[in-house]
Amino acid sequence: MEWNNVALMADQLRFDDRTVTPATEPRSFNSPVVALVMRARTGDLSAFDQLIIAHQQRVIGIAWRMLGNQDDAQDAAQETFLRVYKHLNGFDTKQDFSGWLYRITVNVCHDLARKRGRGNPVSLDAEREAGNFAEPVSPHNTESSAMHAQERAIIARALATLSEKERAAIVLRDLEGLTTEEVAGILGSTPTTVRSQISSARAKIKTFRDRWLKRSVQNRER
C-alpha cells in the first residue's frame, strides 16, 4: 500500500515537528496519526489541523473524482473533515485511519451527489443531447493544460455514467490504487462484489470512450 506509507511518512514528518505525546499516554499508539487523533479527541484543534493537512489532498482528490468538479469536491472535503471530527470518539484506533477517513469521504460524496440531484448515472445520449461532448485530445497535443482539463472533464463524465457503487469502487481501486480487499473494507462490501463492480465499471468506461471517439471522428468528417 504505497500511498498509505507515503501519507504515513508525511504524518511522521509533520508530527515530529510538534510536541510529542506525553509519556503518560498508552503505548498502543502505533502511528503518529493515532497520536494526532488522540490529541484531537481532547479538543486540540492544532492536532486536528495536522490531521487535515496530512490527508486533504487525497480526500479532495477522491471527492473530485467522485463528483467531477472542484467546487463540489471542496464542499465534500470540508464536510468530510467535519464528520471526522464529530465521530473521532467512535474511531477505533486499532483500525486504519485512512480507510476510515475514505469511507466517510465516499459517504459524504454519495450524500452530496444525491442532494445535488446527481445520484443517477448520466447516460451518454443525455450527454450528447446536452452538447457536453468535447473533441478527443490528439496525442501530440497532450501537453497543453487546456487539453488536460478537457481530458479530465471527459473522464469525469465517463465516471458519471457509472452507478454510485461502481464509481466508488473504480475510484478507489484504479485511481487511488487501493487493493480490492481495502476497497471492500472501505465500502463495507466483499472482495468478490468489488471485483464484479470494477469489472462492470471498466467495461462501461470502455464503451463510453469508444462511443466518444466514434462520435468525434464523425464530427471531424462533417
Binding site: 489541523d49 486533504q56 489532498q57 459524504v108 469525469a156 469489472s199
Partner: protein
C-alpha cells in the same frame, strides 16, 4: 478457455485483478486468438486512459481556506455545545430525546400541581390579591416562565446534543429529533398564561367570564388551543374594583 469466458476476464486482467494461474491461462489464450487479443488491447488503452486521470492541483490557498472553514465551524459548534453533550458524550440521541421528554412531562406536571395548589384553597375575601398586591397571573406567569425557561433550556441543549451526535449537519442529519423537540416546545406558550392540560370540557374557543370560585377581584380568561388537551387559563385581577362590581 472459451472466448466468452476470456471476454469476461479481460476487464479484470487489465487492472491486475486476476489470480496468477487465471492470468496465465488468459495470456496463453491471447497468443492464439486475434479477436480476444484485439479486445484486450482496447481494454488496456481504455484502462491507461482512465488511470491517467489526474486530479487538478488544488492550490494551497484554497486548501488553507477549506481548513479554516472546518476549524471555525468546529469552534462555532463547540461554543453552542451543551453541557449535556460534554457530560454525556456517549448518549444515544434517542435516549436524550426520551429523557428530555420525560423532563418536559415532569416539569409540566409540577407546574400544574403548583397551579392547583394555589387555586384550590380559595382564600376568603380576595386575600390573595389584596394582601400581596401581586396579581395571581403574574405570580403564576413567573412560575410558568421559569418552567418554560427550564423546558426550553432542556430542549435547546438536547437539540444541540443531537446535532453533535450526528455528523454532517448539512447533509445527513436526521431531522426528527430536533423537530420533535421544537414541536414539543411549541406546545407550551411562552407568555404569562399558565398552560394546563385539560382532560375535561372542550367547548369554548375563548371565554371571558368572572370566576365564581375565585376571589371576586379575579378575572379568568380561558383560551382553547388547537390541541384539545391544552387550554390556556389566564387569571388577572379585575381592573379597579368598585362597589358595583362587588354588588
Amino acid at each position: 478457455m472459451k472466448c466468452e469466458h476470456i471476454e469476461q476476464l479481460i476487464p479484470l486482467y487489465v487492472g491486475g485483478d486476476l489470480e496468477p494461474p487465471e492470468a496465465d491461462d488468459l495470456r496463453h489464450h491471447l497468443t492464439g486468438c486475434a479477436r480476444c487479443r484485439q479486445l484486450n488491447e482496447e481494454f488496456q488503452t481504455s484502462q491507461n486512459w482512465l488511470t491517467g486521470f489526474a486530479v487538478p492541483e488544488f492550490d494551497e490557498a484554497s486548501l488553507a481556506n477549506m481548513r479554516a472553514s472546518v476549524l471555525s465551524e468546529i469552534e462555532r459548534q463547540e461554543k453552542r455545545g451543551s453541557w449535556i453533550h460534554w457530560l454525556l458524550p456517549k448518549w444515544n440521541p434517542r435516549l436524550v430525546l426520551a429523557v428530555s421528554t420525560a423532563a418536559l412531562v415532569a416539569v409540566t406536571a409540577l407546574s400544574v400541581t403548583v397551579y392547583r395548589n394555589r387555586i384550590a384553597p380559595p382564600k376568603p375575601g380576595g386575600d390573595l390579591v389584596t394582601k400581596t398586591g401581586i396579581p395571581v397571573s403574574t405570580d403564576d406567569g413567573q412560575s410558568g416562565t421559569l418552567a418554560e425557561n427550564r423546558l426550553s433550556g432542556n430542549g435547546t441543549s438536547t437539540a444541540t446534543g443531537v446535532k453533535r451526535r450526528f455528523p454532517g449537519s448539512k447533509l445527513s442529519e436526521p431531522a426528527l429529533p430536533e423537530e420533535a423537540l421544537n414541536n414539543g416546545g411549541l406546545s407550551f406558550p411562552l407568555e404569562p398564561p399558565v398552560t394546563v392540560p385539560e382532560q375535561t370540557e372542550s367547548e369554548t374557543t375563548m371565554s371571558v367570564e368572572p370566576e365564581d370560585k375565585e376571589p371576586k377581584e379575579m378575572l379568568r380568561i380561558e383560551l382553547q388551543t388547537a390541541d384539545p388537551n391544552i387550554r390556556i387559563i389566564w387569571l388577572a385581577p379585575k381592573a379597579a374594583p368598585t362597589e358595583s362590581n362587588t354588588k
